[in-house]
């Protein structure tokens, strides 16, 4: 078969078909040369801009180490499960509560837990009061005004809610009221809300207290820690069940090997990956290490075990 008849001047449709074939072939070549793109959904802690600034170097590092092209997708906490279900991203970086929800509901695979602060890959929730307020023990918080962190925060809401239940205090009945701050920087807002007298008691993540004290934003002497939850895993990297096992292993290894000196280029600048992401490193945990969060969620009647 020859293409020559198509090139005749009186065969315009034939010429168009030839051009189209050539264009398609060229486009096919470009696609074949392209690396497959995989997306990592990063849970926003405060703002989308902050998430991008924190995690772009890590995303670049993972691309450099694995040869796979990764893209960072900032995701709001409340949209995380839905967007993951729709397949908008194949890898997840979220808090440990979202990890167990996605694990139970969609078979998310555990890759590594993030290390930050004095407890490494684990952290806790605390209930605090202002020093000198007369509130000295958990029993004293009955009838008081309390502020929690966001509802999906394992150590800003769930851990404290559970701690109260285990101490015979029903947050729904035994407080004057409880509130959750709006907008970004919720954990900091609730600490300041307590400090300036808007609330009597606050549910603060132990890590936020540690960081705020280290940054000189608060003085530990100004607060009384009334109770602290058991230690539970901190933020967690996961992969969709559909991702190739070899790819997961490659990314997992790159995360576990990540040291403080590792750098990645972002907008022509070489940035330290861990420092940019506010992370001390990554640790290999077992899924059973997340059982304390599962127990908390069951006791507090929260997803993925919610009954009523």
């Amino acid at each position: 078969m020859t293409l020559l008849p198509l090139l005749r001047s009186d065969s315009a449709p034939g010429l168009a078909a030839l051009v189209l074939c050539a264009l398609l072939a060229l486009a096919g070549c470009e696609r074949a040369g392209d690396q497959p793109v995989m997306r990592i959904g990063y849970m926003n802690c405060n703002t989308e801009q902050e998430t991008q600034a924190r995690f772009l170097p890590l995303t670049r590092y993972l691309s450099d180490q694995t040869g796979i092209k990764f893209e960072a997708v900032p995701v709001n906490t409340e949209d995380f499960v839905e967007r993951f279900s729709k397949g908008e991203f194949q890898f997840t970086h979220s808090n440990s509560f979202l990890y167990i929800i996605l694990k139970e509901q969609q078979g998310l695979k555990l890759m590594a837990a993030e290390k930050r602060g004095r407890f490494g890959a684990r952290t806790a929730g605390t209930i605090i009061a202002r020093k000198g307020s007369g509130i000295e023990t958990l029993a004293d918080i009955r009838g008081k005004r309390m502020v929690f962190g966001p509802i999906m925060a394992p150590t800003g809401y769930l851990a404290q809610y559970d701690l109260m239940l285990r101490n015979g205090i029903d947050p729904e009945k035994d407080l004057a009221f409880y509130a959750i701050p709006s907008g970004s920087y919720k954990h900091e807002k609730l600490v300041y809300g307590l400090y300036y007298g808007q609330y009597d008691v606050a549910a603060a993540p132990a890590l936020d207290l540690e960081v705020m004290a280290a940054e000189g934003k608060i003085t530990p002497d100004d607060f009384v820690v009334l109770g602290q939850s058991p230690l539970v895993p901190y933020c967690t990297f996961g992969a969709a069940a559909t991702v190739d096992v070899a790819v997961i292993a490659k990314v997992q290894q790159a995360l576990l090997d990540l040291g403080p000196e590792a750098v990645a280029e972002v907008n022509g600048e070489e940035l330290k990956v861990l420092k940019s992401a506010w992370i001390d490193g990554f640790e290999a945990l077992l899924d059973s290490d997340y059982d304390p969060i599962r127990d908390m969620a069951r006791r507090a009647d929260m997803p993925p075990y919610q009954k009523y």
Binding site: R118, L209, E210, A213, P220, L231, E283
Partner: protein, 182 residues
Amino acid sequence: MPMRRDRFDLMHGTLLFVCIAGLSVVLLTEWPRPAAAVAQGGERALERELQSQARATLLQRLYGPVEELRQQGKTANALLKLDELERTYPGEAHGLMLKGEILAGMGALEPAAASFAAGVRRNGDYIDEKFPLSRRAAVSRLVADGLPVIIEGTRRNPESRDLGLALKNLRYLQSRLAGGCE
């Protein structure tokens, strides 16, 4: 037939002579020690003792509020207070030992082992029973209770580098408790 002496014999002879001369000088000057030198040595020992007591008193005063909070069961507050002190006295062995004790009490075995090991590396006196600020009992407790847990943890999760490091730290503490060398 008379034995011939070569240059090696001469070298050995000279070396022997230098050694004997050196030893004689040392013996003549150091033994018996002059009374002044003995007194000076005693003074130094006294100074060392004074320094060590002053240090112990200062540490007890500085870290007293942390101890107090810990004894009241306010461990989270105690840790925050320690953070504050850490900024003024970074890497102080006493702070590291106290932190290890508090973390161990919270069940945070891996960071507790790391803190104790760092403290003992900085000042080995903390595992000496006779040391006024000794934390030997607390370190022994962590080794006895923590070692089986960490060994089991590494068996279940051999990929965990934190557990591997904790095991290394506990083994180090175990050897120091037994009086082994570093």
